[in-house]
Symmetry: C2
Subunit: 235 residues, 2 copies
């Protein structure tokens, strides 16, 4: 089911050559002449929190470059529980699997208002045939995803709940220290760390009591990074 129609706001056709975050996005080092090859417009879409970019099992029509905001990739287990396998932020690409002809593997749900560029599969395939520059970019994106997947396993699914939570905070704080870390509810937190939501809640509470984090507003955390480092190491 495509909820794009109701959840997404179309901002207009993207003009990649004047993209503000050109150095980050998939099409970043294409040239104007490359774009002459395609005549399908690339839509720029804005999604509100809770909106779904696509659902697991859907036939993949498009990739999405995340220009801003936060998107979770969720995988459902047969038994009904769900697990968040990755978080996508500015510069990441969602839905790479459509390039090998597979349906979407995850459900992509927006956590923080997200701006995206929707790249129809045909466009990427066409450009990919013609311009080797795009290949390097594509491989980087595959690599980023794989790297994050491995990290997720070793850092967020190993050790006690305390350690996992500490590592999550550090990871989220990494690219913007001094900025508070935004989360999206205890349920999601549990699904990221592979623990129950009660355990997530209790562990957060414990961190707050110990002064490791301060919850400024619901789901907005100021972190004591060096203290969190200590938790990761000493337990």
């Amino acid at each position: 089911m495509h909820r794009n129609g109701i959840d997404a706001a179309r901002l207009g056709a993207a003009r990649c050559s004047s993209c503000a975050i050109r150095d980050l996005v998939l099409f970043g080092d294409l040239r104007d002449q490359d774009f002459d090859l395609i005549h399908i417009p690339i839509d720029e879409l804005r999604f509100q929190p809770g909106a779904t970019l696509y659902s697991a099992g859907d036939e993949g029509g498009s990739l999405y470059t995340i220009r801003g905001g936060l998107v979770k990739l969720v995988q459902f287990l047969p038994n009904g529980t769900q697990r968040i396998v990755r978080l996508l932020r500015r510069g990441a690409v969602a839905g790479l699997e459509v390039l090998v002809g597979k349906p979407y593997e995850h459900t992509a749900v927006v956590l923080q208002e997200a701006e995206t560029c929707r790249l129809p599969r045909a466009v990427v395939e066409r450009l990919s045939k013609e311009t080797p520059r795009l290949h390097a970019r594509l491989m980087e994106r595959w690599y980023q995803s794989l790297h994050q997947a491995d990290e997720w396993l070793t850092e967020l699914s190993t050790g006690s709940a305390r350690r996992r939570l500490a590592r999550l905070f550090l990871k989220l704080a990494a690219d913007a220290p001094n900025e508070p870390v935004l989360l999206s509810g205890r349920e999601d937190l549990g699904a990221m760390l592979g623990v129950g939501m009660e355990t997530a809640s209790r562990t957060i509470a414990e961190f707050k009591r110990a002064g490791l984090v301060v919850e400024q507003a619901p789901n907005v955390f100021v972190c004591d990074l060096s203290a969190l480092e200590a938790v990761v190491l000493d337990g």
Copy 2:
């Protein structure tokens, strides 16, 4: 440290055009003329159990196509414990990360005698520039790795040790039912499931008592697949 010199037996230069598993390997649909582009020989290497293809942090010189056997990719945590993040079998590629200029992310250790083709980075890059056919193959390999990483997280790092073990047996038995499943020791088993080795041992013992598996010889298991399915579902 390169242990290849002592651990690997060089079988000779590979002739891809007459490869026995041509439809599986990375260079499977290249043509003779493609190979004219390179003059670096591709070595065919055989590794004994325990041998290391490469170590995490090494500057990546080569990719390895796994032609047979079994290889584990291990990631070490700062605290010293290790976690197996993936298993590579026939047709898989190890060390893709060198294609984006990164050092190896994991240590690749042979579990069952492995036959490999070592593809120097320069060869893959050169061929990749010239022949678009290789791109599709490369993307498939990235996809396979990413897919397996996600599966590993949701299936082998979620739920009780019983469920995880059952899912592991099912996964290993999947592509050759009726064949016994080969494992490589309780320590590795724990590192795959993210549990201690004692827990792995106890859980195996429990499965044996319940008749879910029979250990024909050390680390050789005959599995009752439907009974294992039941464990995954009902706990």
